[in-house]
Amino acid sequence: MGRYIIKRIGMAVVTIFAVATITFFVMNMVPGGPFMAEKAVSPQAQAALEAKFGLDKPLSEQYITYMKDLLHGDLGLSVKQRGRTVNQIIASKFPVSARVGGMAILLAVMTGVPLGSIAAYRRGKLADNIIIVFSTSGIAVPNFVTCTILMYIFSLKLGLLPTYGLTSWKHYVMPVAALALYPSSYIARLMRSSMLDVMGQDYMRTARAKGVSQMVSLFKHALRNAILPVVTYLGPLLAYTLTGSFIVEKIFTIPGLGSEFVGSITSRDYPLIMGTTIFLAALMVTMNVLVDIAYKLIDPRIKLK
């Protein structure tokens, strides 16, 4: 187990390092560097700016400096938001995204698992069919479609929910629902097939035969085993929520890291793009490692290599 954990962490570190390297060199492919888009800058000002951001030095030196700073947790200065560091921006915006995303993940798991279980339990019945239709169409709808349709119905037509900002609980309803739809449908499908699988196992029949009630056998034996695939999905789920937040935060004008990232793309704020990419990549990779380790811990049947 210890060896496995060390191996997984080692690979994660290499991946984060690789992403940081790729990010750095990709960003430097842009001719003229990060100040390309800035118009009407005098040569002196340009030189001063380049000196300030260390762009007058050779690329290898810049890379070493960037990596050194990165190891100290310093992601550099934003180009477009004067006087603010990328760290400050992430620190102020990420909690907002984490709140919305966290609620969405919670909602997805809380709805997906019961729906999938009910569908499996009532296999072939009306409830199963309804849940199948819901989960199949939930997977096919891109989240910008969900967002805009929710907005149209609940804000423009019914006037129940506000369209932008994040000040009261009402503001959370639509973004969280829109973010949760896809993963909730996915989990429901996953849960249904794994629940069906478990319910066909011998130990389920044994449990019933020794007189365990239907409910206890379902909750104690079936659910516990069937939920394992959902645990493995948590890693991709986080990645989905993070990228989904780009769209959701843009549409509902939520001041989170997602809309900041999209904004940095349109304003070509290269240090901010780099910093956010590395931060989000590190977050995703870390979560994947944690999920993998948790999975091995939960399920003793899985052999450790």
């Binding site: 492919m29 842009v30 096919a140 709808v141 891109p142 910008f144 149209y152 793309i265 070509r268």
Partner: protein, 344 residues
């Protein structure tokens, strides 16, 4: 000396009677792989309906625009912001004087472009991106996976470690990164002679393809490898080796051909996920170049006028959901028909 004698029963040599002949008649033709699969597919109602929808969508987005009286970039003066089936003043006068005007089924946008044709062209762009990306993934993934699986040993180990690495890289972030960074260099390259095609295809589309080719094949490679690992132990592979077939020939002619079901299913299911990614990027403004529409960019543009022109949002939104849904269901049906083992 012992003598061996035997007698023949003359009845055994009589011509077969009609009833005896009948028992030997092959009742059904032998069913091959394709026929068997299609037979199962035809029985699957959901898959057949989605197949019809896919064909219909292909027809609407590839054939109809060729005969449509408007083009996607044509700006009709005086016909800005028309509601569905509404005519502008000038169009009404031409109709009164006996001229024919094709109706704007979905109205026009703020530049006077017919919206129906823009949605059709948008679907075409989305489909082209999805299909080309999936074919790219098919080639790279199956080649990589079969080499790793066939040679095994340390080759497999190294190749699969690389796959594991790429698998954990957050792909959307890299796509965004690359399309931001490749924008300027590609635009510079597009002006040079011999590279004009870049302008036609669009800078962002090329970076999308590059990223798909770089990152998205890993899932396909894993699936193909696991299939090859099973298939290479089969006797016919040993026979082919004994007959002196080269590794390349065995992979091409025997191994890949025998996992064709998996390849078809995985590629079909890759198409909607590629379309998903493309629409996501287009919505963020990183997709195809204007005036070329894509379903994502149409929806994005419609967001601002949602209150006055909601249909402009619903048309592309519905189209994209329908395309993804039908490809997903078709893929599921193909999986059940051609590759039942892959069912989750």
């Amino acid at each position: 000396m012992a003598k061996l004698s035997f007698q023949l029963n003359a009845d055994d040599f009589l011509p077969a009677s009609a009833s005896e002949k009948e028992s030997l008649v092959v009742m059904r033709e032998s069913v091959g792989f394709w026929k068997d699969g299609f037979r199962r597919l035809k029985r699957n109602k959901i898959a057949m309906v989605s197949l019809v929808v896919v064909i219909l969508v292909l027809f609407i987005s590839f054939v109809i625009p060729q005969f449509y009286p408007y083009t996607y970039e044509q700006q009709i003066r005086g016909s800005e912001n028309l509601a569905p089936m509404q005519y502008s003043q000038t169009e009404l006068t031409t109709m009164e004087t006996g001229g024919k005007v094709f109706p704007h089924i979905l109205g026009t946008d703020n530049l006077g472009r017919d919206y129906a044709i823009r949605v059709m062209m948008g679907s075409r762009v989305s489909l082209v991106v999805g299909i080309i990306a999936s074919v790219l993934i098919l080639f790279i993934g199956s080649l990589y996976g079969s080499i790793a699986g066939y040679f095994g040993g340390w080759v497999d180990l190294v190749m699969m470690r690389i796959v594991d690495m790429i698998y954990t890289v957050p792909d959307i972030l890299i796509i965004i990164l690359l399309s931001v960074a490749m924008d300027q260099p590609l635009k510079a390259l597009a002006v040079k002679p011999g590279f004009q095609w870049i302008q036609v295809v669009g800078v962002n589309l090329i970076s999308i393809f590059v990223v798909f080719a770089l990152l998205y094949w890993v899932g396909m490679a894993r699936i193909v490898r696991s299939q090859i690992l099973i298939l290479k132990e089969q006797e016919y592979v040993t026979a082919a080796k004994a007959l002196g077939a080269s590794s390349g020939r065995i992979i091409r002619k025997h191994l890949l051909k025998n996992c064709i079901g998996t390849l078809i299913v995985t590629t079909t299911l890759q198409i909607p996920s590629s379309i998903f990614t493309e629409s996501f990027l287009s919505f963020l403004g990183l997709g195809v170049n204007a005036p070329m529409p894509s379903l994502g960019s149409l929806a994005s543009a419609a967001l601002n006028g949602m209150n006055s022109y909601p249909y402009r949002l619903f048309a592309p939104a519905l189209a994209i959901s329908l395309i993804i849904l039908s490809f997903n269901l078709l893929g599921d049906g193909l999986r059940d028909a051609f590759d039942p083992k892959l069912k989750d």
